[in-house]
């Protein structure tokens, strides 16, 4: 553990929130709403999900509130990671109107990008964010809306103490301990938090807190907690499955999974690295103007493979295969690694509980892997 770590006693947690608020950030934090951990505006630490523990299984997400349990981060994750804060589910890209001379005038829609701090970010979320950064920012045409929101983001990570049964970040190498990409990172114990900074801004915030040194007892407890968090039920059969996947494009398992899959796209919508979108025009009846809208799409829709009057991937077999061969296969060619950070969301939030790790094992486990 880093030398600049320190300890924030639990009763001083409000100081952290206040310090971030004082920097002019709109604070967002995990909260228990509608039977799930969701991110919402955080005005006071009481809103955090105290005592909430969540059991996640394929197609099932089930929380319990333990009265008297003081911890606020003793759960793995909720249905959404950071994606909606950066890659908006639906937004206007540009507007166009006809001026008095009948000419079309285009104007870009500048997104609102308040200074935003997000509390409780997970290691897998940070790894996914790095992948979304590669996609949206590190190209010749960086996405202005994403860039504006990314620019103003402060990230306060919490290392996972309670991975779900659906988590497999240890096997993808992306968690459960945050490695990079945070401004501050916490390890939660009953009496408080070990806190470390990852950026100068994080350091400046730390300097304003009433911190005490980390004791050997804390260190030991955190070490045990982190070790335990690495013991996860699920795993991917390998970090590089591209070759095995593309060698098995005719595997009978694709038909089998197509029989179970609803082609509903929930897996891609909750996946923190998926970036596909569709676009549409929104115009009033008089035709004098129009808004160009971008919204989340999925390789499970017909439109995703529609080209010149033909839907290439008509059936679920091809659509499910696209999802797996992109995420775990051609992602390596695009971004130098798998597109999966092991968050397990696609397993828990699949209405019929299809488990990517099980499908991968069936398809790649046998021969080439």
């Amino acid at each position: 553990m880093g030398e600049k770590d320190a300890y924030l006693l639990r009763e001083r947690l409000p100081l952290l929130l206040e310090a971030v608020q004082a920097e002019g950030y709109e604070c967002i934090g995990p909260q228990w709403q509608n039977e799930a951990i969701v991110y919402d505006i955080l005005n006071q630490v009481e809103q955090l999900p105290h005592g909430v523990q969540v059991n996640q299984y394929p197609g099932e997400y089930c929380g319990e509130i333990h009265e008297g349990n003081v911890r606020c981060f003793a759960w793995a994750n909720g249905p959404q990671a950071l994606k909606p804060f950066l890659f908006a589910p639906r937004e206007t890209l540009w507007r166009v109107h006809r001026d008095n001379d009948g000419r079309l005038q285009f104007e870009s829609a500048t997104p609102e990008a308040p200074k935003r701090a997000i509390f409780g970010v997970r290691a897998c979320d940070l790894a996914a964010l790095a992948l979304q950064d590669r996609h949206f920012l590190e190209s010749d045409f960086p996405d202005p809306a994403y860039a504006a929101r990314r620019e103003n983001l402060l990230l306060i990570a919490v290392n996972c103490s309670h991975p779900a049964s659906t988590c497999f970040c240890a096997s993808t190498g992306d968690g459960p301990v945050a490695q990079a990409g945070y401004d501050l990172v916490l390890d939660e114990l009953d009496d408080g938090f070990m806190i470390q900074a990852g950026t100068e801004e994080g350091q400046a915030i730390m300097a304003r807190l009433n911190l005490i040194p980390v004791t050997d007892g804390h260190r030991e407890a955190i070490e045990i907690q982190q070790e335990k968090a690495h013991e996860q039920l699920r795993q991917v059969p390998g970090k590089q499955l591209r070759d095995a996947l593309f060698a098995n494009l005719d595997h009978e398992r694709w038909d089998d999974v197509a029989g179970r899959c609803l082609s509903c796209g929930n897996c891609t919508s909750v996946c923190p690295t998926c970036f596909c979108h569709s676009e549409e025009e929104l115009a009033p009846l008089d035709g004098g103007s129009s808004e160009h809208i971008r919204q989340w799409d999925s390789c499970f829709t017909a439109g995703h493979s529609y080209i010149h009057g033909l839907t290439i991937r008509q059936q679920t077999r091809e659509r499910y295969r696209q999802w797996l061969t992109h995420k775990f296969g051609s992602w390596h060619d695009q971004y130098g690694r798998s597109g999966c950070v092991g968050c397990g969301r696609c397993i828990a939030w699949c209405p019929v509980g299809i488990d990517v790790t099980e499908e991968l094992q069936a398809i790649c486990g046998s021969d080439d892997a």
């Binding site: 509608n34 249905p79 609803l262 796209g265 989340w296 439109g303 939030w349 209405p351």
Partner: protein, 259 residues
């Protein structure tokens, strides 16, 4: 005579609710009145059912011999025919009678059933004439109706919305009621267009927009069974609003049989 495109709104067996998509459109309705001439729209005033029009909207299903004649005439008089709602597009709730003995129902419900002159079936408009565009929903909303008119006014083919409700549900950042509460949500097989209203209010979708493209009703029914929903209840979910259209007809019958 104005040279604005002419629009008619016709009604067959239905509750009139889809026509409210026009009447409740607010400002868009004023704009519509400037762009087109509403030549026939009984619920709003103008009456000229035989007029030749550029766009005919048709609400309701075909339930009588007279309906059969009327829809032929409407087709002949209309350049572009759009069905609005579950009745016109799929036969409506009343299509349940296609799966039962309608005469027996009549005898049970009415004191003098001999005065009722209806067909044994309730069928969608597309079973009788060519339909150019279908707007699903029970009822349809203003966004759909105005969107179709807007496209046609500008010479574009209206967009066919065919994705599943789940896509929109996730865009709204709703928490899935099937995964958290075990509710038998029809979103994974239901056509988008409503804005995922029900899951946004924490309840399960009941499929009022009909089947989405590439719907796996078999797997969803099995998932409901895993949630301990009774077979007959699963059958009724598929047959609730859109029993008259596949794959819902077959899925509903299968689960009702399994009872």
């Amino acid at each position: 005579m104005s040279d604005k495109p002419k629009v008619a709104v016709h009604k067959f067996a239905s509750c009139d609710g889809c026509q409210l998509a026009f009447l409740n459109a607010g400002e868009a309705l004023l704009s519509l009145a400037q762009q087109v001439e509403l030549v026939h729209f009984a619920e709003a005033g103008p009456m000229n059912p035989e007029a030749r029009v550029d766009i005919a909207f048709v609400e309701g299903s075909i339930c009588t011999a007279h309906d059969e004649e009327r829809i032929q005439a409407i087709r002949r008089n209309s350049q572009y025919l759009i069905t609005i709602g579950a009745c016109a597009t799929a036969g409506g709730l009343q299509a349940l009678r296609n799966l039962a003995d309608g005469q027996q129902w009549l005898a049970e419900v009415y004191a003098s059933p001999e005065y009722i002159d209806s067909l044994a079936t309730s069928t969608p408009i597309s079973h009788h004439v060519k339909v150019d565009h279908e707007l699903w929903g029970c009822p349809v909303n203003g966004r759909q109706v105005m969107g179709a008119i807007r496209s046609l006014l500008h010479g574009a083919v209206p967009v066919v919305e065919q994705d599943k409700v789940c896509l929109e549900c996730k865009r709204q950042l709703n928490v899935c009621v099937m995964v958290t509460k075990g509710e038998p949500c029809m979103g994974p097989v239901t056509r988008t267009g409503c804005g995922a209203i029900c899951p946004s209010l924490g309840r399960d979708c009941y499929a009022c927009y009909g089947p989405a493209e590439n719907s796996n009703t078999e797997a969803l029914g099995e998932a409901f069974r895993q949630l301990d929903v009774l077979p007959a209840t699963i059958g009724r979910r598929f047959h609730f609003i859109n029993s008259g259209v596949e794959p819902f007809t077959a899925a509903g019958q299968r689960w009702k049989r399994d009872e």
